[in-house]
Amino acid sequence: MSRILNIVERHTHHSSRRQHSMTMAIMRKGKQFRWQRKHLIGLRDLTAEEIHYILDTAQGFEQISTRSVKKAPPLRGKVVVNLFFEDSTRTRTSFALAASRLSADVVEFTMKNSSVSKGETLLDTARNLESMGVDIVVIRHNAAGAPKLLSRNINACVVNAGDGYCEHPTQALLDVYTIRQMKGSLEGLKIAIVGDISHSRVARSDMWAMTKLGAEVTLVGPPTLMPADVGRLPVNTSYSLDEVIEKVDVINMLRIQFERLGGNPFPSIREYSRYFGLTVERMQRAKPDIVVMHPGPINRGVEMESEVADGTNSVILRQVANGLAVRMAVLFLVNQAAAETPA
C-alpha cells in the first residue's frame, strides 16, 4: 500500500493522472482523507479529523502573509462576496484580505448600501449575486441558520462568518489554531471561556471545536449570561472566575457586547469586571504559561486590564494574524470541494 501511495504522490501533478485511475480507486477505498464540504456552516457538524485538516492546511498559508509578494494564485478568476447583514470590521476585512491573497476578486455587500433595505429577501439577494457569477458567499446574519438556508438554495459555496447566537466557525478555527501553535495540541488542555456566553456565537463554535479536539472546556460567567441549554452542552460551567483561574491552560475572554445586552444582566460594568475581568492580580494566580485570548475588539478595563491584554501571555494579535491563514485555508478548501463536485 505504501508503494501505491508513493506512486500517487509522485504523479499527482502529471497530466497522465487519468491512466492511474485504478490506483486512485484503490486509494479512495483506503484511509486517505478527503475534504468534501463546499460549505462551512458550523463546527458542530465537523469531525476532529476535518478540523485538523483545516488547521494543517492553514499552516501552508501562513507564510504568504510574510513574504514580499503577499499573493498566491489558487482562487484566480473566482469571485468572493462578503454578504454582511450585521456590522463587522475585522472579520470582514480578514475575509476580504484572505480572498485577495488567494487572487480572488472580492465584492463587498453590506446592509446599509444594499437593496435589503428596500425589502429584498436574503434568498433574492443571494440569487441575484449568484447570477453575477459569484463563486463563494461569505455571510454574516443576525438570524441563526441563515447560512444554512442559503447553502440549500444556491450553488455557490457558503461560508458562515457569524449567524445569530449560533456559530462563528472561522473565529473558533483561528482560536484552536492559535492554541495548537502555542501548546502543540489541545488534547487534555483545560480551557475557560469567560463572559457573556449566552450572546456569544464565538463561545458556541469554540466549545464545539475545542471539545472535539480533546480539550476540557469550562464556561464562566454570571448566571444571567449563561445560555438556557448549557446543561445539554459538553462543557462544565462555573459562576466564579476565581474558582477556575488557577487551573486553566488557556483562557478566552469574550467581549461584553453592550449592543446585544437587553435588561440588566449585571448591576454595573465595574461589578462585572470585579468578578469576571482578567486583572493583573488574577494573572498572578494563573499558571505562568497560561495563554490569554480575546476575539476582539477588547473593552479595555472591562474584560481585561490593558496590562494583561498587552502582556506576554496574550496572543490576541497572533489570533488576528492566524485568522487570515485560517480563512485562506477555508476559502481554498470549499473551492476545492466545489471544483471536485460536478455541478
Partner: protein, 175 residues
C-alpha cells in the same frame, strides 16, 4: 517493475550532479538549493551537502511547496486532493542563483508551478534546474540544466523515485 538506479548509483549520480553544478557555479554566484516537495526536498538536502563540501562553504537549502501554483486545482477530474503544505525557505532569494531540485522531470508542469512560486518569493539572479531522472513527455518548454539519469520510458510507464527518508529505501524504478 525494473530498477534503473540502485542506492549506490543514486549516490554516485548526486555526487556527479554536485560536481557539475560546482564547476559552473562560483561562490560569487551565491548558490542556494531549493527542493520541490516532497522527494525533491530530500534530494536537495543531499545535493546541498555535497555542494557545500565542493565549494567549501555552506550552501543554504530550502523546501518549496507548489500546491497553490498547480494548474489543475480547479480541474473537476482531479482524482487526488492536493494537500497544501509549508514552504520553508529561511533566506532571501534576491540576487541568488537558485538550483531548483526535483526527482523526475516529465511533463514540466511541476517545474512551471515552481518557477511561478519562486518569483513570488523574490528575484533570483538565475534559476537552474537539476533533476535526478528525466524522461520524455514534456508538455511545457522546460528543460533541465543538470540531469542525473535519462530514462528510456514508454508512454504509460511510470518512473518512481524511492528515497530512504520517505520510502525506506533508495532506488529508482520503472513500472
Amino acid at each position: 517493475m525494473k530498477v534503473i538506479l540502485d542506492a549506490e548509483q543514486i549516490d554516485k549520480t548526486l555526487r556527479r550532479l554536485a560536481e557539475e553544478i560546482a564547476a559552473q557555479t562560483s561562490r560569487a554566484d551565491d548558490p542556494v538549493i531549493i527542493g520541490i516537495r516532497s522527494r525533491g526536498e530530500i534530494l536537495a538536502e543531499r545535493l546541498a551537502e555535497h555542494l557545500s563540501r565542493r565549494l567549501n562553504h555552506p550552501v543554504p537549502c530550502g523546501t518549496l511547496d507548489i500546491t497553490l501554483y498547480r494548474d489543475d486545482l480547479n480541474a473537476p477530474q482531479s482524482a487526488d486532493q492536493p494537500l497544501v503544505r509549508t514552504t520553508e525557505i529561511g533566506f532571501a532569494l534576491d540576487d541568488k542563483t537558485v538550483i531548483l531540485v526535483d526527482d523526475v522531470l516529465y511533463t514540466g508542469r511541476s517545474v512551471r508551478a515552481a518557477l511561478s512560486a519562486l518569483i513570488d518569493l523574490g528575484r533570483p539572479k538565475a534559476i537552474r534546474l537539476a533533476v535526478l531522472v528525466e524522461r520524455e513527455g514534456r508538455e511545457f518548454p522546460i528543460q533541465a540544466d543538470y540531469t542525473g539519469y535519462k530514462a528510456e520510458v514508454r508512454p504509460g510507464q511510470f518512473v518512481q523515485v524511492n528515497l530512504i527518508e520517505s520510502d525506506g529505501k533508495d532506488e529508482v524504478v520503472v513500472e
